[in-house]
């Protein structure tokens, strides 16, 4: 009797990355993992076969081609320590833990106080791959003990210590009421105190690192909050603000929008699957920048945007390139494209050159541009893309015979290609309603002759 609803489901992005909760951060990943119920228990769920197991601060996420489910860490009541026996040398490594299950055979996903009728089920994770499962187990302990799911945003502040040392206390008693030691015992005691304080400051130093991480999280939250405020504010009070303020506001929004991959894929968290996971995350990430830059974006720009969004744990250009080239293997809506000039861009798979060509053609056949042609920056402004990108489009359009070039002291310009319309037999012949004839009209209108 296997229940389909035993595990809560996990929504997955189009590129196959799990959607994380607010503040949830990925910690580690194991590949080729099976999840099975304990043999001795009544069968509570159908075994899950060969998927990735992602450990986050909040959940265990099992992702396979068929199914994506989660095990909230809050439901775990006990993690069994691994038995080291002769048998385990030959066996695939196993991680076992106990979870609370509600009466209707679902894993406990809410406040345990309100649900009373619970029992426990032991879940076994079988690691088929040679991943570093011991590290995974250690991280699991860490995350489980960290109880990140209990930390709400309010409880982060107000942890400053309130120790006020009363100085000037003389005599036999110290400030804290302890008896001051004198003589050899006193010296020994002092030594001990010094040693303890060194130890403490060392611990403090390491705690500072953790504090820094917490602060980073706070910064992201702050940025998010400010963005929300700006978004809500910009709708209501546009009348009172002048142009300049609007500009800076937009700039601010741009900055804040680019803050915020809360859980970047790192080599540490993803291990051997680093590039694969990075590739998927990148595919999710580029959607918004792609939309804003008209369906195509320079690889260099993506590199900057992506690393800025990651904040820490930056990736190298090489990693980016590898992640992009892995897209061919996944079903993601974006692709890497190399222009003849060697410029590499990321574009939507749905992006079609025909559409761009149609817009370019509309631009160069306007009466005024028929006469003057267009430069790359003209095209960039009309198409709403970067000039370098626009130039690539123009060159592609040229190679397709749509445009032709004019190089003069005035610069590099593109014109609609009239050559095919001119007849060789009669150089003066002009077909009515052709682009050639409208070009001649435009030329004579501008007083060329």
């Amino acid at each position: 009797m296997g229940s389909n609803n035993f595990f809560p489901a996990v929504s997955v992005t189009s590129s196959g990355r799990p959607v994380l909760l607010p503040n949830e951060v990925e910690c580690n990943l194991l590949s080729k993992v099976d999840i099975e119920p304990n043999e001795n228990d009544a069968i509570s769920f159908t075994p899950l076969k060969s998927g990735h197991l992602i450990l986050t601060t909040h959940r265990l996420l099992f992702l396979s081609s068929e199914k994506s489910v989660a095990i909230p860490l809050s439901a775990i009541t006990h993690i069994f320590s691994s038995k080291r026996s002769l048998k385990s040398v030959f066996h695939s490594p196993r991680i076992r833990f106990q979870v609370s299950v509600t009466g209707d055979n679902r894993i406990l996903d809410s406040d345990p106080v309100r649900v009373t009728n619970t029992h426990s089920v032991v879940i076994t994770v079988i690691v088929r791959d040679k991943g570093d499962w011991e590290l995974f187990l250690a991280k699991l302990w860490e995350s489980w003990r960290g109880r990140a799911w209990e930390t709400t945003s309010e409880s982060v502040s107000g942890t400053g210590s309130s120790s006020v040392s009363g100085s000037g206390y003389g005599g036999l008693y110290g400030s804290d009421g302890s008896v001051r030691m004198v003589g050899v015992a006193g010296i020994l005691r002092k030594e001990q105190e010094m040693w303890e304080s060194t130890d403490k400051s060392l611990q403090d130093a390491f705690q500072d690192l953790n504090a820094l991480m917490n602060k980073a999280k706070e910064m992201v939250m702050l940025a998010e909050k400010m963005r929300q405020k700006l978004l809500s504010g910009s709708g209501s009070q546009t009348n009172s603000t002048n142009e300049e303020e609007m500009g800076s506001k937009e700039e601010m929004q741009d900055w804040l929008l680019s803050v915020g991959i809360v859980s970047p894929v790192t080599k540490e968290s993803a291990g051997a699957l680093y590039h694969q996971q990075l590739s998927r995350q990148l595919a999710d990430f580029v959607k918004i920048p792609l939309e804003r830059s008209g369906g195509m974006i320079n690889l260099i720009d993506v590199y900057c945007l992506f690393n800025r969004a990651r904040g820490t744990a930056l990736i190298s250009p090489d990693d980016l390139l590898q992640a992009c080239s892995l897209w061919e293997k996944f079903d993601v809506p974006v692709m890497l494209r190399k222009f003849d000039s060697g410029v590499r861009v990321i574009q939507n798979k749905s992006h079609s050159d025909e559409e761009v060509f149609a817009r370019i053609k509309a631009l160069v056949t306007k009466p005024e541009t028929l006469q003057t042609g267009i430069s790359a920056s003209d095209a960039a402004m009309t198409l709403g893309i970067a000039p370098a990108m626009a130039k690539e489009h123009l060159l592609t359009a040229e190679s397709k015979g749509l445009l032709c070039r004019d190089i003069s002291p005035d610069g590099f310009r593109f014109y609609i290609n009239l050559f095919p319309e001119i007849t060789l037999d009669n150089l003066f012949l002009m077909k009515d309603y052709s682009i050639y004839s409208s070009w001649v009209k435009a030329a004579s209108a501008s007083g060329l002759r």
Binding site: G401, D406, L418, F419
Partner: protein, 179 residues
């Protein structure tokens, strides 16, 4: 209609890309063909026989749109003429080009019909007389390039239609027709 002297220019002469060598193959082929037609047309009506790359040639620049052909483009278009037998380089450095709006064979035919029309069979003429004599006035032979004329005469000599011989003066040669 824009004109160069009494030569009518086609509309595309004011089309700026016409003066930039196009890199795309199909477009360039058409461009080269258009230039070939225009150059031959112009040379025929204006009786231009030699185009020198370094010298100013009216077709190669358009002051109205402030465009002119660069040397590479000039050489490309003239080379296209040469490869079709409508022109010949006069030097190895490709600096001077002889334009043959009539091929040498066509020029030879013109000379033959000129000889027949004027009843000059079995007569003797100097080369200079053919170019600028009273008989040739009003025909295409009048004022033609000496190099081309000599080439056409040599072709006819080869076919046994005439004989070329050294004349009395050092700078001129005589031609005896035997049609």
């Amino acid at each position: 209609m824009q004109k160069l002297g009494d030569f009518k220019l086609p509309a595309f002469f004011n089309y700026p890309p016409y003066f930039t060598l196009q890199p795309v193959r199909d477009t360039r082929e058409k461009q080269v063909q258009l230039w070939r037609e225009l150059i031959l047309d112009y040379c025929r009506t204006q009786k231009v026989f030699v185009i020198a790359l370094e010298e100013e040639f009216p077709l190669f620049s358009n002051p109205v749109i402030e465009r002119s052909l660069n040397n590479e483009a000039r050489e490309t278009f003239l080379s296209a003429l040469v490869s079709e037998g409508r022109a010949e380089w006069l030097d190895k450095g490709h600096r001077k080009c002889l334009i043959l709006w009539h091929r040498i064979q066509d020029w030879a035919d013109l000379i033959l019909s000129f000889v027949k029309d004027n009843g000059l069979e079995d007569n003797v003429m100097t080369v200079e007389e053919i170019r600028s004599g009273i008989e040739s006035r009003g025909t295409e032979l009048h004022g033609m390039d000496r190099t081309i004329l000599m080439r056409a005469l040599k072709l006819l000599e080869h076919k046994g239609k005439l004989a070329i011989f050294k004349g009395t003066s050092a700078d001129d040669e005589g031609v005896k027709f035997s049609v």
